[in-house]
């Protein structure tokens, strides 16, 4: 897979593999986070951190609490215990608006595109946070509002070029094939120019070609923009090849944390995937 990625993504992959990216300090960390729904404990006392500039994978069998963890980071769920520290500020829980405005963006496991809008509008919606002009100027669609709209359109077009989706710009997203929808969702997340990009199973349901493309996009974004990426993924090949560090969850608990090689050799992780309970 690694060789494939290098071959397909050319310069980006090779550069990433040789990697003179700087992995910096801790950008986000969760400390002793627990989350329960009624009687069901989704997450129990999990702590890990994500360093600036790295690609951090979160893996584990189904029901391990991975998506719940991302939801906590986003502020959609509020943990019962524990804290979240983002960019130095420690919080009891995150709020969606704060997460978004401080630079966290996200894709979703089951796709959360705006089905009633076109590709272009979906990605433009990702710029909403950055668009400041008031209602009155927008009502005139002239002057400052128009200039702002054009400026953001230019930024969005760069993303469309990058993700090679020019041909479906004006297509309603509901009608697109699954792989393209996932790409549009990535575009929408990128439109926010995030510092931390949370990807929930971005390659689910994709064939090998699509996975290569998606990996290439993620690597390029990480390499050239310095975007920190946290990704939930089931394809072990992908995880081992593109991530810098991995955290493994099982039944809501952290059972391993380290480089891909370390985690791959960890007996508890192997047992978890083989279904041997502890």
């Amino acid at each position: 897979m690694k060789a494939d990625i290098q071959e397909r993504s050319g310069a980006a992959g090779a550069a990433h593999a040789l990697s003179d990216r700087v992995i910096g300090d801790v950008l986000l960390s969760v400390e002793n986070v627990s989350l329960a729904f009624g009687g069901v404990k989704a997450i129990s006392d999990v702590s890990f951190d994500i360093r600036k500039g790295e690609i951090r994978a979160i893996i584990g069998p189904n029901g391990a609490g991975k998506t719940s963890m991302l939801n906590v980071i986003n502020g959609f769920y509020h943990p019962n215990e524990g804290t979240i520290t983002f960019k130095g500020t420690r919080r009891r829980d995150m709020r969606p608006y704060i997460a978004a405005s401080q630079g966290i963006s996200r894709t979703f496991q089951n796709l959360a595109l705006f089905k009633g809008m076109t590709t272009l509008d979906n990605i433009m919606a990702g710029r909403a946070l950055k668009m400041r002009r008031g209602l009155l100027w927008q009502a005139l669609h002239w002057g400052p509002a128009l200039a702002e709209e054009i400026r953001h359109r230019e930024a969005v077009e760069k993303i469309i070029d990058f993700l090679e989706i020019q041909h479906i710009r004006k297509a309603p997203v509901g009608k697109l094939p699954y792989g393209l929808q996932k790409r549009v969702e990535l575009g929408r997340a990128l439109a926010m120019e995030p510092e931390l990009l949370l990807l929930d199973e971005p390659m689910a349901g994709m064939n090998l070609e699509e996975k290569k493309d998606m990996s290439r996009y993620i690597l390029t974004v990480n390499d050239q923009l310095g975007t920190t990426v946290a990704l939930i993924e089931h394809d072990m090949g992908v995880v081992m090849d593109i991530s810098d560090r991995v955290v493994v969850l099982e039944y809501g608990r952290k059972i391993a944390d380290g480089t891909p090689e370390e985690v791959q050799r960890n007996q508890r992780v192997i047992d978890a995937y083989l279904g041997i309970s502890h």
Binding site: G75, P96, R106, M117, A125, L129, H141
Partner: protein, 375 residues
């Protein structure tokens, strides 16, 4: 063949974002506007068919324009932002009665601080706009629950608004300036010194209002706020996680929608009815507006016009067509038939084309692009 985009290249994003990017559409719109602003008044002035008598203007075109405006307002809230509202009639009433009070002078004694609020009668245009503003303020208030309650539950909240204001305008006689009969007369329509009186003049007045507000609405829905509204409608959780504030998006939708509906209400009362009672704005009106928006197309400005035209023309057609065919049909049966046809059409459209007439129109245009070739 006629309707091809070939050769029309956009060289700027602004051109690509235009309301009518295709040249043929622009020409068609200009022709339509020319006909509306010049053609119809000329026909009416010389009493040529179909404007031989006042009927067409007074009973069809004027109500069509005003209801289309109201439908645009409702579409913004229901179609673009996805917040269901069964209370639009009440907002029309708020617009109408507020405009009436501003037009006849507002006097509120405030005994507890030994003072009063006294505003002299305002000219008609500011009164109407202030009527819209009052509706917008109430709209925001009733929109606040929408942050916690969604869908059906919100529908009930809007019903609360509808029935509550029905009662307010009936009981609180201050709104009708203590008129013994409970019905009120609109003030004279004087705009910038010009006295608007004849049907042609009223028609042009409504046309101006509708054109301006339709343009404003279209600008809003294709811009940032429009995308925020649609994002909330489609996936409000994802929208929030992207930094779109549901509070701001929903309340602006309520505000803008209620403002437009309020202005439409004021126009309905002042320009169309002349004198009115609270019944003009009851739940029937709310449902009628909702139907216009569903049939015409949710989330489409054009759809608002199509839906309004259809709902208005339907009873007339159901009345005229049997007569033309020689089948006797009573007034009552006509009104019952309207019920049946409207209801059936809604069900049919929901099954076959949930996006209403506007989508059917868009599909027709797509086919027109290929015409006369089959594919």
């Amino acid at each position: 063949m006629l309707y091809r985009e070939a050769g029309q290249f956009k060289t700027s994003y602004a051109a690509d974002m235009a309301i009518f990017p295709i040249r043929q559409d622009r020409i068609a719109l200009l022709l339509l506007l020319a006909f509306a602003f010049v053609g119809i008044p000329l026909l009416a002035h010389f009493q040529l068919w179909p404007l031989g008598s006042d009927y067409m203007l007074r009973a069809i075109l004027i109500p069509f324009l005003i209801l289309a405006l109201a439908a645009i307002g409702v579409n913004i809230l229901v179609g673009y932002c996805g917040q269901i509202s069964l209370g639009s009639g009440a907002f029309m009433a708020i617009g109408a009665y507020s405009a009436y009070k501003f037009g006849t002078g507002v006097h509120i004694p405030l005994e507890f601080i030994g003072s009063e609020i006294a505003i002299p009668p305002l000219p008609v245009l500011p009164s109407i706009l202030l009527g819209g503003l009052m509706a917008a303020i109430v709209g925001i208030l009733f929109g606040i629950p929408s942050l916690r309650i969604k869908g059906l539950y919100l529908a009930v909240a809007t019903l609360a608004a509808q029935f509550f204001f029905d009662w307010v305008f009936l009981r609180v006689q201050w709104f009708t300036n203590y008129a013994p009969s409970g019905s009120v007369n609109a003030p004279d329509l004087v705009f910038f010194g010009y006295f608007v009186h004849s049907p042609i003049e009223r028609y042009l007045l409504c046309l101006i209002f509708v054109t301006v507000f339709a343009l404003i609405a279209k600008n809003l829905v294709r811009g940032n706020i429009g995308r925020q509204w649609m994002a909330i409608r489609d996936m409000d959780i994802a929208a929030e996680l992207m930094g779109i504030r549901p509070l701001y998006a929903k309340l602006t939708a309520f505000a803008v929608s209620s403002f437009i509906v309020g202005v439409a209400g004021a126009l309905w009362a002042f320009v169309y009815l002349g004198s009115w009672e609270p019944l003009a704005f009851s739940i029937d009106r709310s449902l009628q507006l909702l139907f216009m928006v569903i049939i015409g197309g949710l989330g489409s400005i054009l759809g608002s016009f199509l839906g309004a035209a259809f709902i208005l023309i339907l009873p007339i057609m159901l009345d005229q067509v049997p007569h033309a065919l020689g089948i006797p049909i009573s007034v009552e049966t006509v009104s019952l038939l309207v019920f049946v046809v409207t209801g059936s059409l809604i069900c049919y459209l929901l099954i076959v084309e949930p996006h209403g007439f506007a989508r059917l129109w868009a599909i027709a245009k797509e086919k027109l692009r290929l015409w006369p070739f089959p594919y």
